[in-house]
Amino acid sequence: MLATRLKDALELIPKTVSEQDGQDSVALTQGNIHEALAAARRLSDVSPKLQTVPVRTVHHLSCTGGTLVSKCIASMANTLVLNEVDFQSPIPSRNGFGNFAPTDAVSLLRQGDNDVGAEEIANLFADTVATLRHREWRRGRDLVLRDHTHSYFLWGEEVRDGPTMKEILETRFPVRALVTIRDPIDTFASIVKNEWHTHFRPSTFDEFCRRHLLFLKSYRDVPIIKYEAFVSQPKQIMKEICRVLELDYFEQFTGVFDSFDFSGDSGRSSGEISPRPRSEAAEALKEEARASRHYSDLISETGYTPI
């Protein structure tokens, strides 16, 4: 009788008392039942819910309308968006003061320690996210990280090695991820307009498509939202985004999203969400697209209509 009652009681208590306390699981036996009682009392102070709180991540290549989508996400109820995050980004800072980066822990670490490895940076990143996640959880806010995917897939001689942001975070937290994409023709035309195609070699449309495919492969299991669908039906698609990221939807976001001032705003400058006609530059990519080996694969993968 006693054993049954105790067993029932013990099953109601999670094995891990508290992540913050740093304590290991407390095995309840008749020998340490006093400790068990104390643990049960501590449970009334520290909620185990934090363990289940996800970190949300959004991933998209440059010039895909990502800033617009991110601003809209930031307009959702009690949502904090960290814009264009990549602790491993090889893109140098453009503050005009050389290595001066007093608020940038990664730059400071790299300056001081030549031997710092990617894994250590990844740990620093995860620790930082853990701190922020706890902070925002206590404040009742949901944390969203907008990945600076350009740094990973569209910078340098080859796509970067090593774990993606999502893979790093998944080792520590539950992650809800979302990928947004745009028609590759329009995307590349806009990238060229901004002269960002020079960030990778060769700076061709075919190479862009190859890297785009690698990006999609890296996030194969992640829900994808198309920019074109978003600008056509922003409210409907935003509800879907909120469902994926587990955010509280805010109906009036279309009227207030432009109050956020995010970096990466390469294209749209108005406060209106609506489809736009294809640019002449995009039309001019027709021949290059037809000659591209990876474009057809990308079209098959994304479901866009070939140009």
């Binding site: 006693l2 105790l6 208590i13 039942i33 009742g140």
Partner: protein, 316 residues
């Protein structure tokens, strides 16, 4: 025959200060290139009621203008039909009835009169400058044909480009109502309104006729430039004010949007709090149950320990 001596010392000085690049000469008297020999305008535009426009004629006279163009037109303050009088003295042909000028020229008589369509100097020059690429806006103007005041009234744009104006007019003592627009006081009034300063009379052919020499007023020019600068400064200041106000409006709009977000966040937090409170109540209920069960278990354990001690006589 020239009635103006281009050797006049003031004209010579003005010629150096403001070389006559394009000299516009309005006259009904016969003029030739040689009249300007030694004075040196680059181009001369002659305007009078000649039968046809003359083609450009190259300069064959040393020291004269490189180009002389004659346009047939009768100038006035506006385009309308008016009576043009041909007088027995060529210079007095024009819009004044010769009968009104007999106090000056006793033997002056009307040869014929005709209805003509007048045009303003501004309009004529605008047409001709557009049509003839080698023409430009004049910087000297000689009006030899009375009445001058209506011609100046139709030349407000041309006056802006002029540095020197010579105007033939009646001395005021011969004023008659029908000659008012030909008087010196009327002409000077019009010129002063356009920032010209009267310097002196050039020698003329009759004591009752005057050749007024006027130049652009440096003071007027300067005050106009100052006024222009002040206008620009005021304009810039207003632009800055508008920019600042627009930025302020943007900031207010942004603040209003942030307020909407904050209000929604607050509302959402209240909902989350209510949900958490409900969950907390549920968890507290569960914890109470656990505590009761554990307390009960402890009591049972204490009870069994006491029994054991009683049985063995050993106390921990």
């Amino acid at each position: 025959m020239s009635v103006i001596s281009f050797d006049h010392p003031t004209l010579a000085m003005l010629r150096r200060l403001s070389p006559p690049k394009v000299l516009c000469h309005i006259t009904e008297a016969p003029w030739g290139l040689h009249e300007y020999a030694g004075f040196g305008p680059e181009k001369v535009v002659l305007i009078g009621n000649a039968d046809v426009d003359a083609a450009d004629r190259p300069n064959l006279t040393n020291g004269g203008p490189s180009l002389m163009t004659r346009f047939s037109a009768v100038l006035s303050d506006e385009s309308r039909e008016q009576t043009f009088y041909t007088a027995s003295l060529g210079r007095e042909c024009g819009l004044i009835n010769p009968a009104h000028l007999t106090s000056i020229w006793r033997n002056l008589s009307e040869i014929r009169r005709e209805q003509v369509e007048t045009i303003t100097l501004d309009e004529l020059l605008a047409q001709k400058i557009e049509a003839f690429s080698n023409l430009a806006e004049p910087n000297w103007l000689i009006i030899d044909s009375m009445p001058v005041a209506p011609k100046l009234e139709g030349a407000t744009e041309t006056l802006k480009t002029l540095d020197v104006v010579v105007a033939r007019c009646l001395a005021d003592e011969v004023f008659k109502e029908e000659l008012e627009m030909a008087t010196a006081s009327e002409v000077l009034s019009t010129l002063r309104d356009s920032d010209f300063t009267y310097h002196e009379d050039l020698s003329g052919s009759h004591p009752k006729l005057r050749y007024l020499l006027c130049t652009r007023s440096i003071i007027g020019e300067r005050s106009r430039a100052n006024a222009h600068e002040a206008t620009i400064a005021r304009h810039n200041e207003l632009e800055d004010q508008i920019t600042r106000r627009l930025e302020h409006l943007d900031e207010l709009e942004r603040s209003a949007k942030r307020l909407v977000l904050t209000e929604n966040n607050l509302k959402n937090l209240q909902q989350r709090y209510a949900a958490l409170a409900e969950e907390n109540d549920h968890l507290n209920g569960q914890l109470s149950l656990i505590r009761q069960q554990l307390d009960h278990a402890l009591e049972l354990l204490h009870g069994s320990d006491s029994s054991a001690e009683t049985e063995t006589g050993v106390t921990k």
